[in-house]
Structures are given as C-alpha cells and as structure tokens.
C-alpha cells in the first residue's frame, strides 16, 4: 500500500495515499467538525465547516474533500480556521429557526452541538425566517423545511441507497431548498416511509410523525384496555437512548418500564414473528409443490412493500400474502386474545413499538382491519418509546426486570433474528428444513445469510430439493435483485427483502443518527440474544402450537386467511400522473 506522510498540528501522520485530511486527523486524535459529511455517504463539501489551513495554499481547504498530500503541513486550529468555522455557523444559523428548546432534535442535533462547541453566542448576520409550510402529509415522516441546511444527505440516501429518489434540490443560490417534486408532500409522492432520510438529516428538518401523546391519552382512559407489542430490533437500540451500548439493556427491564408507563398487557411481536414463519414457511412449500409464483418474496417490511407497489408492481404476486408480524399481532389481539381474556375488542387499544416509520403507514392501510376494528391502533418508534420512558421518570437502567405476559409474549430465537437482515430467511430455513426433511438440523446457524453485505445468496439442500435463496437489504439492493430476475439472469425460490440498511435494527424509527457502524453492533447483539435462548426454532414455540390448537386450527387454513394474510395495491410513480386516475 502506497502511503504519504504529512504533519497535522505538529503530529506526524502516515496514511494510505488518497486518505482525506479529515480521516488522517482522526488517526492522531484530532477532531475536525463536520456537518454535510456522513460516514456512509459520498463527499459533498458544501457546508465548509471542516476547513483547515494547508501550508503553501492560500485558501482554506475542506478537510473532508482534500486528500493528504506528500509532506503536507496542515493546521486545524488557527485563528483563521476558527473564525471561518464560526462564520459558517453564524451564516447557517441566520437562516435557521431559533427554537432549539422546542425542537424534536434538541440535545441531539449536529448543528446545535457545533454551535455549542464553537461558542456561538451572537450572530453578526440578520436573521431570515422563510416561513415555509411544514409537510405533515405522510403518516410516517414529517418535514420542517425551515430547518433544512441543504446539506443533501437525505437526497443521497433516498436516491443512492433506497433508489426511491424522492428528494431533490430546487432553485439555486440563496433560494435553494430540498423537497419532493413540485414541492409536494412526502405523503403525495412515491415515498416508502422508510425514514432513512431521518437518520441522514443532521438537524430537525426530517423526523417521525410523533404520536406518543395519543398513547398517553389511551392509557389515561379508564375504559381502554391498553396492550402493547414490541419488535425485536427495539431492545438492542433502546439501550443507546439511555447511554448504554447496543444490546446492553435487558429485555425484562423494558417490560417493567412498559408496565410502569401503564400498559395493561405487555406482549412481544416476536410471538407473531414465530407465527409468520409457520404461515410463510407453509406458503413457500405450497408454492414450490403446486407450481405457484416464484420467487416468493417476504412481506414483513412495509417500506419494501410500498416500494414494490410503486416501483415493481409486476412483482406484487411474488410477495408472500402473509401480513407482517405487527399486523398478524394486531389481528390476533382483537380476536384470539380478546376472546381468551373476555374483553370486548372495541375496548382494546393496541400499541406497537417499532424501529420503523413505515409501520405507521402500514397500520392505517385500509385492509388492516380484519378483526373488525383497526387491528393496530398506533405505532410508536423506538425514539417515541424512549420519550415516554423519560417523561414517566423511569430509571430503566436500574429498574427490576419483569416477564412478558402470556401467551403472546412467548417467543424463540428465530423470532429475535427477524430484527437483522437475513434473519427472516434464517428463521424460515430452520423451520422449513425440519418440516420438509423430518430431520433435526445439525447446525441451525445459517451464517451465509447474515451480515451487512448488500445481497447474500445461498442454496439449501432439503433432502434432494435444492432451494435457492437470496437476501437483500435496502430497496436499492432489492432493485438490483429484481432487475436481474426480470432479465432472466437469476432464479431463486425465496427472497428476503428488508427496506432498511441492516434490516429492522437500522430502521427509520431507531435512535437518531444511526450509521452502518452502529447497525453492525446492533446486529451482533441480535445474534447474541438468539444464541442465548433455550428455544431457537419457531415451530417449537409452545404458545404457537397452542394458538393453532385453540384458534387457528391449521397453517394457511380458513382462519389464517381471514386474519393473517393480505393483498397489495399497485401504486403510481408519479403523483400527478393522469393515467392512474
């Protein structure tokens, strides 16, 4: 490897040729501030906060975009550099609302942090308010364009990672803004509600539709029986909201916190994740054995579903008809559980904690009412859950752990791994293998489908039946896979798609500022949890066996179809396209 040596603030560095000044400075413990820079994205160099002095170069250089040159002498802490950075901050703040205390990103904002670090106490520039309208059109993601600093990070993640390309800059110069086409709302364009733009945004310009007040209202209503479910990806990330590392928060402590908040019953989505495996596994075998449409593609991720509806409507018949675990849970809570507990389903208020902003859209889809009511009343993200815990004054780190309620709180390791990319596939293979072959799996760890690689493939031998599978995370990778299938270059029996990078652990409802490095830590925590559980195959969950005996009778049976399966809707790519109307 070719290296170059340079001096940064008097420290000698030797780095690979092509390394930026920003990265080189990190190796010697020098922190250069950034704002438009994002570790998982391309270099934009439009905010100029990272400027440094390079000896022999007249103008200050952007550290994120300048490669270290041979024998370069770089200074990151001079009067000129500090002045320039402060001026950049003052200019941005002159065009940014001054309501930090009320902002959803208060104390968790890259701009606020920099203003603090650079001691911006006054502003030499006249303040300009744009008074642009808030975009509240989407049930998942809201926007306050007044707060946008035009860094372009949301544009990049939407276009390059998700290939939904919802956002673009419009106008130029001082009047530039970031918005969907024609300044329409996110709810009016082909937005999949994945919320990856929320993580990309350094400030409070893009955020979830915060509905946690509705849940307080329900809890305070004595007539309501308030139950909750929680996705497997919540536990590993909630820890981060309370200063712990991914996965450090014990499940029982979250259960105890939810009871203190006031939930009448605390259940787990993992219960219906196990159920999903039974239904989806059987659906796959049914399709393979009866010449059904292949590949079958998973349907757990509502961001992916909406992406498929907008961008690949010709693949809608490939989607498994299984509802997502959240919606199966919703349908069962107001039927199976209501019956068992002798509660009028009209009095049940069903709350779902998800790492996901797209789930907020999913729960209000018109077909998601098979119990006769809206199956899931409201979806809150990991961040909203953290808000409720703080508001309730609960010391979650030190609370005594408690157990989930029966029966919908019982789950296996197969359900836990739903939270990571490849997890649904692995869980399905654990069950399908044993159901088809009648043999016990020697090694239940299908490591080929794990990890952050964009597209993973494997072939599984089910006693002579070679099943080809693929796993994609991010809708951009799903696009690559579907294009290859369309072109006849690839064939698979079964595909798992998750809309978000890393799967649900990287969802748009997870703690702000999720990066790929953080995602990997959450994935590790998910597989640790799976490995530590006594039962790790969905078909061995005794509560699921009981559910079939008492209520559903058989997989893909009449009741299953009524409650657990769904259909999809072709959607237009163009909000104003006349042909669709």
């Amino acid at each position: 490897m070719e290296t170059v040596t340079a001096v940064i603030d008097g420290c000698k560095v030797e780095v690979a040729k092509g390394t930026t000044i920003l990265d080189a400075a990190k190796t010697v413990g020098i922190k250069i501030p950034t704002l438009c820079y994002h570790p998982d994205q391309s270099i934009k160099a439009n905010c100029r906060i990272c400027v440094v002095e390079v000896e022999g170069v007249q103008l200050l250089q952007a550290a994120c975009a300048t490669a270290v040159g041979k024998d370069m002498v770089i200074k990151t802490n001079t009067m000129a550099v500090r002045e320039a950075r402060k001026t950049v901050l003052e200019l941005i703040l002159a065009h940014h609302p001054q309501d930090c205390l009320q902002c959803i990103r208060n104390q968790n904002c890259e701009l606020q942090t920099l203003a603090h670090e650079y001691n911006v106490r006054e502003n030499r520039f006249e303040h300009i308010d744009e008074n642009l309208l808030l975009d509240l059109t989407s049930p998942g993601v809201h926007r306050d364009p007044n707060k946008c600093i035009k860094c372009g990070r949301c544009i990049e993640v939407c276009e390059r990672v998700q290939t939904a390309a919802v956002y673009s800059k419009y106008n130029r110069g001082f009047k530039v803004g970031v918005a969907p086409v024609l300044n329409l709302g996110l709810g009016e364009v082909a937005c999949i509600n994945c919320g990856q733009c929320v993580h990309a945004c350094p400030v409070g310009a893009i955020y979830e539709n915060d509905q946690h007040e509705q849940v307080w209202d329900a809890i305070c209503d004595p007539k309501k029986h308030v139950v909750c479910q929680m996705a497997p990806a919540i536990r590993v990330a909630l820890a981060e909201e309370f200063g712990l590392n991914a996965g450090e928060l014990e499940m029982g402590k979250i259960v105890a916190a939810l009871r203190q908040i006031g939930f009448d019953k605390v259940f787990h989505t993992n219960f219906t994740a196990d159920l999903t495996i039974i239904e989806e596994g059987n659906e796959l075998l049914h399709r393979i054995n009866n010449g059904g449409k292949l590949p079958m593609i998973t349907s757990c991720s509502p961001g992916w579903i909406k992406y498929c509806e907008h961008f690949y409507p010709d693949f809608l018949d490939n989607l498994s008809t299984c509802k997502s675990p959240q919606q199966m849970f919703g349908a069962l809570v107001k039927t199976y559980y209501a019956e068992k507990a002798s509660i009028d389903p009209a009095d049940i208020y069903s709350v779902s904690f998800m790492p996901c902003t797209a789930k907020k859209f999913e729960c209000i889809r018109p077909e998601m009412n098979s119990s006769g009511y809206q199956d899931v009343d409201v979806v809150l993200t990991t961040r909203e859950l953290a808000r409720m815990i703080r508001e309730a004054g609960i010391d979650i780190v030190n609370i005594a752990p408690e157990d989930f309620d029966a029966p919908m709180g019982m789950y296996t390791g197969a359900a836990v791994i739903f939270g990571a990319t490849g997890g649904v596939m692995e869980a399905a293979l654990r069950t399908v293998y044993e159901v088809v072959t009648g043999k016990t799996l020697q090694d239940i760890n299908f490591t080929a489908v794990r990890g952050m690689e964009g597209i993973k493939e494997a072939t599984v031998d089910l006693d002579g039946l070679e099943v080809k599978v693929a796993v994609a995370h991010t809708t951009g990778n799903a696009r690559k896979l579907l294009d290859a299938i369309r072109a006849g270059e690839k064939f698979y029996h079964f595909i798992e798609v998750m809309a978000c990078p890393g799967g649900c652990i990287g969802g748009g409802g997870q703690p702000y500022g999720t990066t790929n490095e953080i995602r990997q830590k959450r994935i590790d925590a998910i597989y640790d949890e799976d490995a530590g559980l006594p039962i790790r195959k969905s078909h061995e969950n005794p509560a699921i066996t009981q559910l079939y005996e008492e209520f559903l009778k058989e997989p893909l049976g009449h009741k299953s179809h009524e409650l657990l399966h769904t259909h999809y809707t072709k959607r237009s790519l163009y909000p104003f396209s006349k042909e669709e109307k």
Binding site: E159, A165, V166, Y167, S168, K169, Y170, N171, R172, G173, P180, V181, L182, V189, L573, Y574, F576, S577, K578
Partner: protein, 153 residues
C-alpha cells in the same frame, strides 16, 4: 396568450430529443420556447424518456432561471439580482417596471403579456444594470424609456 399545451404535443417535443446525448436541457429549452412553462406532464414524460427520477427533473427545471414550472406570461422580463447590477441601481429600474406593469417581481400581468422576475448574472456586468426581455439583453435604460420598450411587445 401563449399556446396551451396538450399531453400529445409535449410528448412530441420530448420524443425529438430521446436519442440526443444530454438531451434533457435541449428538451427543456424546446418546451419552454413553445409554452413558457415546463408543465407537470412534461416532468413525467422527461423522467420516463431519459430515465431520470422526476424529482431530479424538477431540480433541473427550477435551477435555471430560464425555465419555470408555473405558467408565465408571453414575454419574460428578467432582472439580474447580482451585486454589480444592484450597485448600478437595478432596484430603481425594477420599481419603475413594477409601477408601469402594475405587478410585483415574480408576478404576471393579468393579460398574460408580461412576467417580471429576477435571474442570476447574465454576464454583462460592464453594462450594469442589465435586464433581458425574452432572449434580448437591454443596457443603460433610463426609467423614461420603459413605456416605449414595453410598447414593442
């Protein structure tokens, strides 16, 4: 009034640039030339023909002062809003145009004849203040000359 567009006519214009390398800008110019606006239908068609997300077509169509996604008048008067023209007294000239036409910058006269708007530097700073009407630049214009200039259209 400018010609009103139809789906068919917009499609026809765009089709001419289908195989032109970097055909998006010439296509936008051709649509603008004919209709003084880039209609929604054109944004969709351009997106399909050039395989570029519609959000980005919108970005290009709003980046250049020459194009507009909202309907403009038959003749577009553009004032440079850069510093040299500002210093040379562009504001007084703009105010005079506003008074004469009875509209504010960014608006179109009721008869659809004129739109008044700002643009970036047109590269003729030596003659500041500069404005253009359609493609034609005007220099050293005094306030008294405005009625005569407008009467030519």
């Amino acid at each position: 009034m400018v010609d009103s567009y139809t789906n068919v006519s917009v499609d026809k214009i765009i089709a001419e640039f289908k195989d032109v390398k970097s055909g998006l800008l010439p296509a936008l110019h051709a649509i603008d030339e004919k209709y003084k606006v880039i209609p929604e239908e054109a944004l969709v068609k351009l997106s399909q023909v050039f395989n570029i997300p519609v959000s980005q077509i919108y970005g290009v169509a709003t980046f250049y002062a020459k194009f507009a996604v909202n309907q403009r008048g038959k003749n577009v008067i553009r004032f440079c809003e850069s510093a040299p023209c500002h210093i040379a007294g562009a504001a007084e000239l703009v105010a005079a145009f506003e008074k004469q036409l009875g509209i504010k910058a960014g608006e179109t006269t009721l008869d659809g004849k004129f739109t008044l708007e700002f643009c970036q530097c047109v590269g003729m700073c030596q003659e500041a203040p500069v404005f253009t009407i359609n493609q034609q630049p005007y220099f050293n214009v005094s306030i008294e000359e405005i009625p005569e200039i407008l009467a030519r259209f």
